[in-house]
Symmetry: D2
Subunit: 351 residues, 4 copies
């Protein structure tokens, strides 16, 4: 068994990591870390999880290196930055779910994470990326930085166009819609149920750091370019799951059938990305409710002939493929397990 | 008292018309029309409305002309087309809430309403438009065609840029998000609660006829142009209210403060359009929950400096400002009443 | 115009009072009080309310007596207790929405409101009760204590059995179900949207102080007795509105048709109580969504012949008939206005 | 591998069976039956399930006996009655999820299932019951009738009082609250999202056949009696999961601590029943969101000392422990597998 520690155990992503590790045949939870709720058992923090693990939340120190083979950091970016420095050469694998090490271009990092001091030596050692796109690099990575939930969906949606077909995307306009779990459990008045239910909250109307992340990553690729990528993000009235819409304007010629084939080809062998036709089921897809609780990302590509654009839709569960599930997937690759180990649960729908 | 008839009385917009007329000091409900639920009282169809009106649903015939001064058609477009022909010269005012007479350009009409035969003579007599933009024309209109819910929001959002500032908008990408009441009460499996709740349903990902309507209307203006206007629409997990996001790319120079002033100036004297700063309250606005049950349309304009675009957000209650409320507003103007008569209810929030 | 002050202006009931007063033809808002958010305008606190009132939140002092004819206290019970003492003989009418003066029996008060010191002299001067049941007493009341939201529904449901028919109710088992707005806007983790949405939260499974309030009130009546009245309360997954189910076991003979007639008779002339048959509309009623935003309380009485019990259901909007609307209704009576003045808005459904 | 067939494959319980069988290490789906949607693949009917099973929906005939070891009937009761007669002696195990064979007392059956002709010979061969209570009998049952979703929760909640402690329960008042998935996917206007969202719908206020089922079952036990058991059921505003509240009046002496111990003792060794303290976590439990997607039933027992009653709360996912999960659990026992095989998924919370 691979011994796993979860830091940030009281948050939503932390709870989801505990859920997934509890269901994983090769991972064993051996450490729960956090600075708040010290001494608490998981069941006290996560009402769904009544597991008899014999673990309580404890502060993170260098000594935990003896107890774990991999540590998942489900912590705010500034905390992750500190813990990564502490654990980097002590623990075989550190998987960071925060934004601390996502953006490689220094100016972009400083722009979007001004409170997270960039440590160049450490940052350069992190492998960043969606497992489907950087799988090989994860196989021997000691330090892994996972994309954000929106960034995962946008990147999986656009990659077949740029990395696959080598298209030059003149203008990409991204509209992201997320449930309330994307915001975590911080005590903020707008997140109280009476105010959040029924809302379409334009919380990031003129930009989002996940867009910077996507641009930074795709710009490093050898083929396919993105001229302008803008993003706006909205909170809508459900809890779990997000959808990203990428409205793509390109001067290259496109054809819906060929786009479809390119997507299927690009993701062949990657079971967690489901390329779906918009009308293949009784509901229009992708729709985040059709991936709820699972590690799937559903992707659909459409050609708006009249509008002269390509519409790419991607849906995922922000706590699974957008966070904890993708973290476990990366760890699986890191430790030589099939990437789907412990992640074969089907979507819970309707919910 | 002005005698009012409502046709399509069993639907959501019909129910909302009954609600608003019941609260209106100058309108009196004298006729309820429909082809289904004949013989039923409003309370049987609309559980909230237990009004002792002494009316039941009846088929529409030419004879109703004796009973009404104004007829509101909350009927599907093909039905509205027929009833308009029947009632046009018999009733002083016909207000149609459907799409039958919205698009003036014949090819566009046929493209988006292929099942509604275009009757050119009749169509040309209809005054179409958001009351704030065509108020004068409504004052002596016998036939009024109201914009769709999305079209109202998009048009109110863009008009200060084109009609007001005379900007040339090279590319406008519209993303619309609506609650389930926008789809009415037809019996369709995807609209059942277990499947609709928690959804982000991309039901019109590559185009929407309301975009054609907006383009058709704004293109007739003397100043300001729109190069390309594309739209995608999504159903999200609440019932009432919609938000439209218009991502605008223009080569004209813009400045957020001046945009703001232009919007305030443009809507001066129009109480139902509230120009709002994105951060003026504890929740980001506009948000449809902040206009619920009211006839307001909240509009915010933002300059995304990095992205080189203008972001225009507009929120309204699709059953009020997007349908029944706007219909009453138009009728008020038509009959010489202050436009806000009977429409001064404040938003019911939270709900 | 009657000058009205609202204290607790930043809370949900405070916001609802501002909404209703803004729509009221005879009330004018002249004071906004509160200890938090001092200096803020209503629109900053209540995103739906963008009213140009020229008022900001200010601390309450004895001097406000010059500015108001009536003060509504939408404050926590301990604050209400203090403010009532301050304002009692200075302001013509004080309407308290809290529990500070609801329970007259001293031991019961101390049991359920241990943090609210009982001031016997002041408490005895308060008129407590649902306006429909104590209307006459309100006409010259200087101090008014309004029932809680649950208590209003339960009392209106049971009163025709006890006060009307004089039945002796051996056992009454009450089950109350409420939306999240019943809990206000305090920052508590369980009230965050991700945890509250989708919940059936048994927050008061073995008792609720509103039951004590109902018992205390009905026990003072001349006819009809209640042997045992127990209550449990649950938070369910919507925002506004509650339903109370009272399962009544009595040794007196009952008949559904006669019960129905008794209810209709009992509430004759009281427009805010709608006695409804369970199947009179396409949805089973009462259902709080059918009274949303209005001052109605819908009541249904059923005879469970097999079970040997009477089932009484009552639904209301906890922020209107359960709080602000009932407060305005009481003030209307107090100042000699028709009780429905400013309260004739119809339910906003669907929402 | 045990070959499994699912009939009623297009419904919610049918979809859930497909989901669980797809995750089950010992069950293999070999037949999909149904009278509607013939020829469709599961992914077309259930948007979450994009499984390459190579199966399409087909009509059920006697020939399917060659293809299956167990058939799950997720069909309406009248259909189940017919199919059970067809398959009874042809297939090794038939597991019926409908109410066709639940009630043993003939008069009660006819009262609550008037459209399902009772076939005495067949009915007597069915083993009915919650697996935790009738486990041994399932081990060699050819015909299994599963309790309803509400009945499962109520029975698991009351059994420790009657079967365990042998108490005589004078009066039991049950209040059941369920999400919309309990009603399936039939096309009915009240189940459309605009009308169902935000509702507290009293759809069965004076009785429910699941109460008859519970009474019929518990009355056959050797110890513990139930004098009167009444039930009312409500639809609330979420999709998946139900809570039952049983308000129990008994003349026997009770003590909360001893009740607690009795419950823990009674369910020792039964992993799917979690006996929980009301305040053991940050949310009050049981709450159906804390079991979502899992086969758990959470049970809490409380002593309302003032009210002289015992309050028993039970929460489960109506599609899992209330239907498909319990079906698989029963089949596991039937085929000699550990009862938790394929059912160890943890709750997906928040959702």
């Amino acid at each position: 068994m691979i011994r796993a520690g979860v830091v940030g155990a009281s948050g939503l992503a932390g709870g989801e990591l505990i859920r997934l590790i509890a269901q994983h045949p090769e991972l064993e939870l051996t450490f729960l870390g956090g600075s708040s709720h010290v001494g608490r058992r998981p069941a006290e923090l996560h009402p769904g999880l009544r597991l008899d693990l014999g673990l309580t939340v404890r502060p993170v120190t260098a000594e935990i290196a003896d107890q774990v083979d991999v540590v998942f950091l489900a912590t705010p970016a500034p905390v992750s930055a500190e813990l990564a420095a502490l654990l980097a050469d002590r623990v075989p694998a550190v998987v960071d779910l925060s934004g601390a090490f996502r953006i490689r271009t220094p100016e972009l990092h400083d722009r979007w994470y001004p409170k997270v001091e960039r440590r160049a030596d450490l940052a350069d050692r992190f492998v960043y990326g969606v497992p489907e796109l950087v799988g090989d690099q994860l196989a021997d990575a000691a330090l892994i930085s996972l994309p954000g939930c929106y960034a995962t969906a946008i990147t999986l949606g656009l990659a077949p166009l740029t990395l696959g077909l080598g298209l030059d995307l003149r203008t990409v306009v991204v509209d992201g819609k997320s449930g309330s779990s994307g915001g975590g459990l911080q005590l903020r008045t707008p997140d109280l149920h009476p105010l959040r239910n029924g809302a379409i909250a334009p919380y990031s109307p003129t930009g989002h750091r996940h867009a910077a992340e996507v641009g930074d990553f795709l710009a490093r690729a050898k083929q396919g370019t993105i001229g302008s990528l803008t993003m706006s993000a909205y909170g809508v009235s459900h809890v779990r799951g997000l959808l990203t819409s990428s409205y793509v304007f390109t001067d290259d010629a496109v054809d819906e059938r060929e786009l479809w084939r390119a997507y299927v080809r690009f993701y062949k062998g990657h079971r967690f990305v489901r390329v779906r036709r918009h009308d293949e089921t009784l509901l229009p897809v992708p729709d985040p409710q059709a991936v709820l609780g699972s590690n799937y990302c559903d992707v659909t590509v459409l050609h708006d002939v009249d509008g002269g654009r390509v519409v790419v839709l991607a849906a995922l569960d922000n706590l699974v493929k957008g966070a904890a599930g993708q973290a476990v997937q990366a760890a699986n690759i890191r430790f030589g397990l099939p990437e789907e180990t412990g992640l074969t649960m089907q979507p819970v729908m309707p919910a």
